[in-house]
């Protein structure tokens, strides 16, 4: 693969988002989580993944999207965020695509869900606009603090 091309995993959550493949450790089906009672709303619970306790984030809640009931086709993307492993529950993974750096356009200013600071750019594919996430910007230091305590 040419140097300026990177691979992304795309997933749906009302809109389409993409995450760089290198940040992702694993993608697994939605499964039983240990619920943490005192945890904040965006944390669904803890996933036990071969001896690793991975906190799982409800991305819908984080993006302040309307709730959908938990469904079996959702998947958990286990990825590295600011150095630690986290799971993100998404509606489903759509595709694995290669994107050239030059095709990434700067993010739009239209959404007001927690600001657009965690979207590092947009790309168009199959008539869809995919928003590429800068995962390290998804959480504030306070939120990371809470997540680490799970």
């Amino acid at each position: 693969m040419p140097a300026d091309e990177k691979q992304y995993i795309t997933f749906k959550l009302e809109e389409d988002y993409g995450i760089e493949l290198t940040r992702i450790k694993e993608i697994i089906r939605n499964q039983e989580l240990t619920v943490i009672p005192e945890a904040p709303v965006f944390i669904l619970g803890v996933l036990s993944l071969r001896g690793i306790a991975v906190p799982v984030i409800n991305l819908r809640k984080l993006f302040q999207l309307p709730e959908r009931s938990l469904n079996a086709y959702a998947v958990i993307i286990v990825m590295e965020v600011l150095g630690r492993l986290l799971g993100m529950l998404v509606d489903g993974v759509s595709d694995m695509i290669s994107i050239k750096e030059e095709n990434i356009t700067p993010p739009p200013k239209f959404t007001d869900r927690k600001g657009t600071k965690f979207i590092k750019g947009m790309v168009e594919k199959d008539k869809k606009f995919i928003m590429l996430l800068d995962v390290n910007k998804l959480f504030s230091p306070d939120e990371i603090e809470v997540i680490d305590g799970i």
Binding site: T22, A53, N71, A72, Y73, D148
Partner: protein
Amino acid sequence: MNDNSIEKLKEIFKNEVDELIEDAEEVLISLEKDVGNEDLINEIFRIFHSIKGSAGVVGFNEMAHFAHGVENILDRVRQGELRISKNFVSLVLESIDILKNYIEFYFGGPPVDEEKIKKIEASLNRFKGVGEETEFKIDEKVERRIVKNAKYFGIHVELKEDIFYRGQDPLLLLRELTDLGTFDSIRANVIRIPELQEINPHNNYIFYDLVLRSKHSYDEVKDVFIFVYDDNKIEISDISGRFVEDVDVELADKKLGEILVDEGIIDEEEVERIAADHKKIGEEIVAKTTVKKEEVQKILKKKQKSKKIQIASTIRVKTDKLDKLINLIGEMVISVSRISMIAQETGNKDIINSTAELNRISRDLQEQIMMVRMVPLESTFKRFYRVVRDLANSQKKNIELHISGEETELDKTMIEQIADPLKHMVRNSVDHGVELPEDRRKSGKPEKGNIWMRAYQEEGNVIIEIEDDGKGIDTDIIYHKAFSKGMTKKNRETITNDEIYSFMFLPGFSTAKVVTEISGRGVGMDVVKKNIESLKGRIEVQSSLGKGTKFKIKIPLTIAIIDGMRLRIGARTYIVPLDAIVESFQLSTLDLKTVKGAKDLVNLRGEVYPLVRLHKYLGDEEITDQNFKKGIVVLVESTFKKFCIFVDEILGISQAVIKNLQDNYRSIPGIIGASLNGDGSISLILDIPGLEKIMEI
């Protein structure tokens, strides 16, 4: 090295590590206050490095291994790959505790807690990040979906009446779609087809809803409709998310009838008609229509598969956690209400609006939590097959148990409390209700006795009935017993049956001896009554000597869930409980008689029913003159009579959570409550018996 040297070595080791541990704690406590401090980070890294090394030297390999794990993570911090938090530092402090435990153990103390180590390592391991893995793993089943790229598109094809004149043909479009993939389901909607005498063979009346499984892109699918897209109603959406292992996960939730309708195997009206009978839809559909048993079986199998997949995504939560949650939320709701009231007094619009929103959210939350605990009565009921069988066998009686309505849901704790009373009553039916086979024969009854357990919802209550066709309650015997015990002074003529039945529920009314004499209920009925009353419920008795007895338990719910049909009347949507619906049809096929000064009447196959125009009653003044040809009439059944409701559109069948209106408004006759739709709008739930009364039908 001799033993003495080894001892000395261990001593030196202990001293070194004790000191390192002390230093570590000091460093970590400072680090907690200053998580970015590089010097502290380097320092703590060095300490763990040293501890690891020294432990290795003396052969304490487990400890060395553990320390090594932490050291690696601290190295990542050092290299800037991991940004730490206070909670992370706490975790490292916990690791220090583990090291202390190791030291204790190596020097004669208790063994280290394996569980504790596993737990901390599990928490620490997430800080190792993705690591050196160059290949990421993806769940097999998820991969199949991505790699195969098979997508599911929901397509609605609604072409105008005159499309044939333009040389277009929906069939050709559908054929073209099959070039791109396969139809997972397709339904032709024939509701627009006019009466035979009015059909224009050159017109197009049918529209289609289908699900296409295809590896092609959205654009390629859309291209099929390139020439019809602009002038007609074509909707294409990517619904791949709903499918797992090529099974539509939503099937698990849909009722069998719905699925059959969606797949075009049966008419919606037929389903409604059958649903009104409370019977098992599958059987009835096969019996009453031309649907083949195999088709129903196929769908049931799909549903099962779907349910299995769905179940996999459930989360088990301990009920005590839920209870705590519910209590807290209950308190919160009260608090928030109080705040709302205070807010009202401030007169400040912003505050009032915000607290109103807060109020709404907290009540929503409460209802959602309550719903988590709603559990179908199914498993409770099904237990009784065995109970009845064993009891009947032991008493040499021949009894069959019939269960219906087991899908009715009840709050989990209520179910737990109801289980015992139900058991008592069923026992009593077997013991004292149903007679021995030869006795039944003598009375001209079939030898096999029956017990029915039914559950259903009615106006915000869950009703559970236990009925038998046994010998019934002999009111004379009960009356005399009660009278002789001084429980009543009324004489036999003036006392009512209900009053007599109520004696059965009095404590101490029956003893074991009495049970054999009284041909009725005995042990435990007072307990049963108490249990039910603790759920704020009531219990009613109906009995006919020689024929049988029915117990009716009514339990109110703060929320109830009903199956209903969504209708549009004017601009609003309403929900009619499915139980109440008999059938629906288009008005143009019927006779409509408007009698001056009286109600409109509808003639359906020789029967005449009153027609109710709800919009007038419910105050939708904007609908004045309707084009009746475009509307639909729904025939509903109430306690005594049937009548017709005129609606503009049938939107579909869904489950509705009833929110009591009483809490918010004074009660509106004819409305049971409201239900919140997925899009935030509200549908009012019609109270059919209530409407019957108001409309003076």
